[in-house]
């Protein structure tokens, strides 16, 4: 399969008043055409920053310090603003976490959909409306023609996220970056939205980067998983292996932290401590101060993300 996106040695920094902090540290990762990749990790791991850096929309004072973001063979990280705009929302769409916040409350759904069409295609208003209706149908919004004139507050949370998904489909993108698309929704609706996303990616052969802190969500949707911790990728491999035979102590802990099947009384959080803030990431292995296997080498040397015996790439000194 051909490569759609390749991130090479990406470093993202936040230039704060006192010092510059590194939020993404030497991350390399790729997504093939039509492939679905999950990015998992606790809150603050740098998942959102990674997602936004792909379309060069990191919130201030963040910036890409070094590295490459190769999309369809071109390094888009150095694109000019106007050139980048032809990628954003066109070839790469984003879905945000909270559909209550992502849609503009004072603009109708139609306006918010059509503007995306007009930004990337030279079509008439009638044609734009036709495209909007077609995509709303795809996400199973009933009577879409009428819905175009309505405002966000007239929809439920689940419906709004469907609309956001429909917006992301308007330009038939090659890649969708979904940043915690179900986290803000009712538990009952989460699975529905996830299934919809999976179905759409499969039928249109779209690439998906699914960002979530919930390992159980990615394991049902994606083909590969990248586990992030404190701005680095600590484990990367096919979903089945990573989800069932995790190698990195952090992934093991994350899996243990998953709610078990109904009835079992296991504690939710099995990893002691919390993820350090950007200013307090230990030298050596970033996970060393929470790791049960920690040895002297972990405090001195940062482990490389290397392929291990079962074909999974793991950044740990103690995994063979």
């Amino acid at each position: 399969m051909s490569e759609l996106l390749k991130i090479k040695n990406l470093n993202v920094d936040f230039a704060l008043r006192e010092r510059t902090l590194r939020a993404i540290n030497d991350v390399s990762i790729s997504i093939d055409k039509g492939e679905r990749l999950g990015v998992v990790g606790e809150s603050g791991a740098g998942k959102s920053v990674l997602g936004f850096s792909i379309i060069n929309l990191i919130s201030k004072p963040g910036y890409i310090d070094s590295g490459q973001i190769v999309f369809k063979g071109e390094d888009i990280s150095k694109y000019s603003y106007d050139r980048m705009r032809t990628i954003r929302g066109n070839q790469i769409s984003m879905i945000f976490q909270d559909p209550m916040m992502t849609l503009n409350p004072v603009l109708s759904i139609g306006e918010q959909m059509r503007e995306t069409v007009f930004a990337h295609m030279n079509v008439s208003k009638a044609k734009a409306n036709e495209i909007c209706v077609e995509k709303l149908k795809k996400v199973y919004i009933p009577s879409p023609e009428k819905r175009l004139n309505q405002y966000p507050h007239e929809f439920s949370g689940g419906m709004r996220q469907r609309i956001v998904i429909a917006i992301s489909l308007l330009t038939n993108p090659d890649l969708i970056i979904a940043d915690e698309p179900t986290t803000a929704l009712d538990v009952t609706i989460q699975a529905e939205i996830m299934d919809l996303l999976l179905e759409l990616c499969k039928t249109d052969n779209m690439g998906l980067m699914l960002i979530t802190h919930d390992l159980s969500v990615v394991s049902q949707v994606t083909q590969r998983i990248a586990v992030m911790y404190a701005g680095t990728i600590v484990e990367l491999g096919d979903t089945a292996t990573v989800a069932h035979k995790p190698q990195h102590p952090y992934t093991v802990g994350l899996l243990g932290a998953l709610p078990q099947r109904a009835g079992s009384e296991k504690r939710l959080n099995q990893i002691p401590g919390v993820m350090p803030g950007l200013a307090k990431i230990p030298a050596g292995c970033p996970f060393s101060d929470r790791c049960s296997l920690v040895g002297d080498i972990c405090r001195e040397k940062r482990p490389q993300l290397l392929e291990k015996t079962n074909g999974i790439r793991v950044a740990c000194h103690f995994v063979e």
Binding site: L103, L107, V164
Partner: protein, 325 residues
């Protein structure tokens, strides 16, 4: 939206009732309608007769209801000094004040929106820093000082602009003395309008800037960027439309307050409007005129706010579509 409008208007009427009650209370306690009617050279016996005849010995509430009835029919009493119904006096002075407030509002709205937006979009640029610095000076400088400085520079030193009065006015619709239609009238309006707007303009700029900066940080603006739409559309449609909502609410009140600020401006520029009339009525103890001024300014304030609220409803789909707020 209809229910919303009706509710706003009902609220406006309620506020007017309260203002009229306070106004009547002042008049009842301090005013002397007999003097307003016949002057001071009347014997105490005749006075008592007139009091009885006018119903001034009736209970307070009875008199208040009578006052309201008359007020609704446009009768607010007689001015002791002008020997005329106060409504006539006020009607003659109102155009001067309203035109002044109108021009000042134009300046405020016309400048604060572009300057506020610019300062929000480019907070680091030199021009934005100049705007913000200038607005601090503007807020902290008292109106009369601004007025005197303007007069000193443009009238005394440069001799460009007239420093007092309304200049040449034209009567339109048979009752409205307008200074907007002659060159001299407009020239006379320039400095008083600037002086009157000098407090509100910086306040509006700062309000629009801070609201807009907050909106620019919102998720839906970030999402708009992620959709790849043009910056102009993100700023002026996505961000500014949302900035407008809080600005309308606060701004409406401020524009209403400007009517009260005219007292100072009119005094400095000897502007023959309601504001200077009010000061004169206070020094002459012309109670009926004083109270009427308060009631009329209150009414203007209420009308402006009701209109502003209705505009708010029109901009905000949550109100427009469902009537909720």
């Amino acid at each position: 939206m209809f229910a919303f409008t009706v509710k706003r208007i009902a609220q406006g009427i309620l506020v007017m009732l309260i203002i009229s009650f306070i106004g009547f209370g002042i008049k009842h306690n301090f005013g002397d309608p007999v003097r307003e009617l016949v002057g001071e050279r009347v014997t105490p016996e005749e006075r008592a007769q007139i009091r009885e005849k006018l119903g001034l010995n009736d209970p307070f509430m009875v008199q208040y209801v009578r006052f309201l009835k008359n007020a609704v029919q446009g009768d607010l009493g007689r001015s002791f000094f002008f020997k005329k119904p106060v409504t006539e006096v006020i009607a003659a002075k109102a155009p001067a004040t309203l035109e002044l407030v109108f021009c000042a509002s134009l300046i405020v709205v016309g400048l604060s929106i572009p300057l506020g937006i610019y300062a929000a979009i480019h907070p680091k640029k030199l021009f934005s820093r100049l705007i913000m610095g200038g607005s601090i000076i503007g807020v902290s400088m008292p109106v009369f000082l601004t007025a005197i400085l303007l007069i000193y520079i443009f009238s005394v030193e440069l001799g460009w602009l007239p420093s007092f009065g309304r200049g040449e006015t034209v009567t339109v619709f048979g009752f409205w003395d307008s200074g907007l239609l002659t060159k001299e009238g407009l020239r006379h309006l320039i400095m008083p309008s600037i002086a009157l707007s000098s407090i509100m303009l910086p306040l509006f700029i700062r309000l629009i800037r801070s609201e807009m900066m907050e909106v620019l940080e919102s998720e839906y603006v970030k999402y708009a960027w992620a959709k790849g739409i043009k910056p102009r559309r993100v700023w002026y449609v996505h961000a500014f439309k949302n900035t407008l909502l809080p600005v309308i609410t606060v701004g409406g009140v401020q524009l209403g307050i400007m009517v009260a600020f005219t007292i100072l401006t009119e005094t400095v520029f000897q502007w023959q409007g309601m504001g200077s009339m009010f000061i004169e009525s206070v020094t002459r103890a012309d109670t009926a005129l004083m109270v009427s001024y308060i009631v009329v300014v209150g009414a203007i304030f209420v009308v402006v706010n009701t209109i502003v609220d209705i505009i708010y409803g029109l901009v905000n789909p949550v109100v427009r579509v469902t009537g909720r707020k």
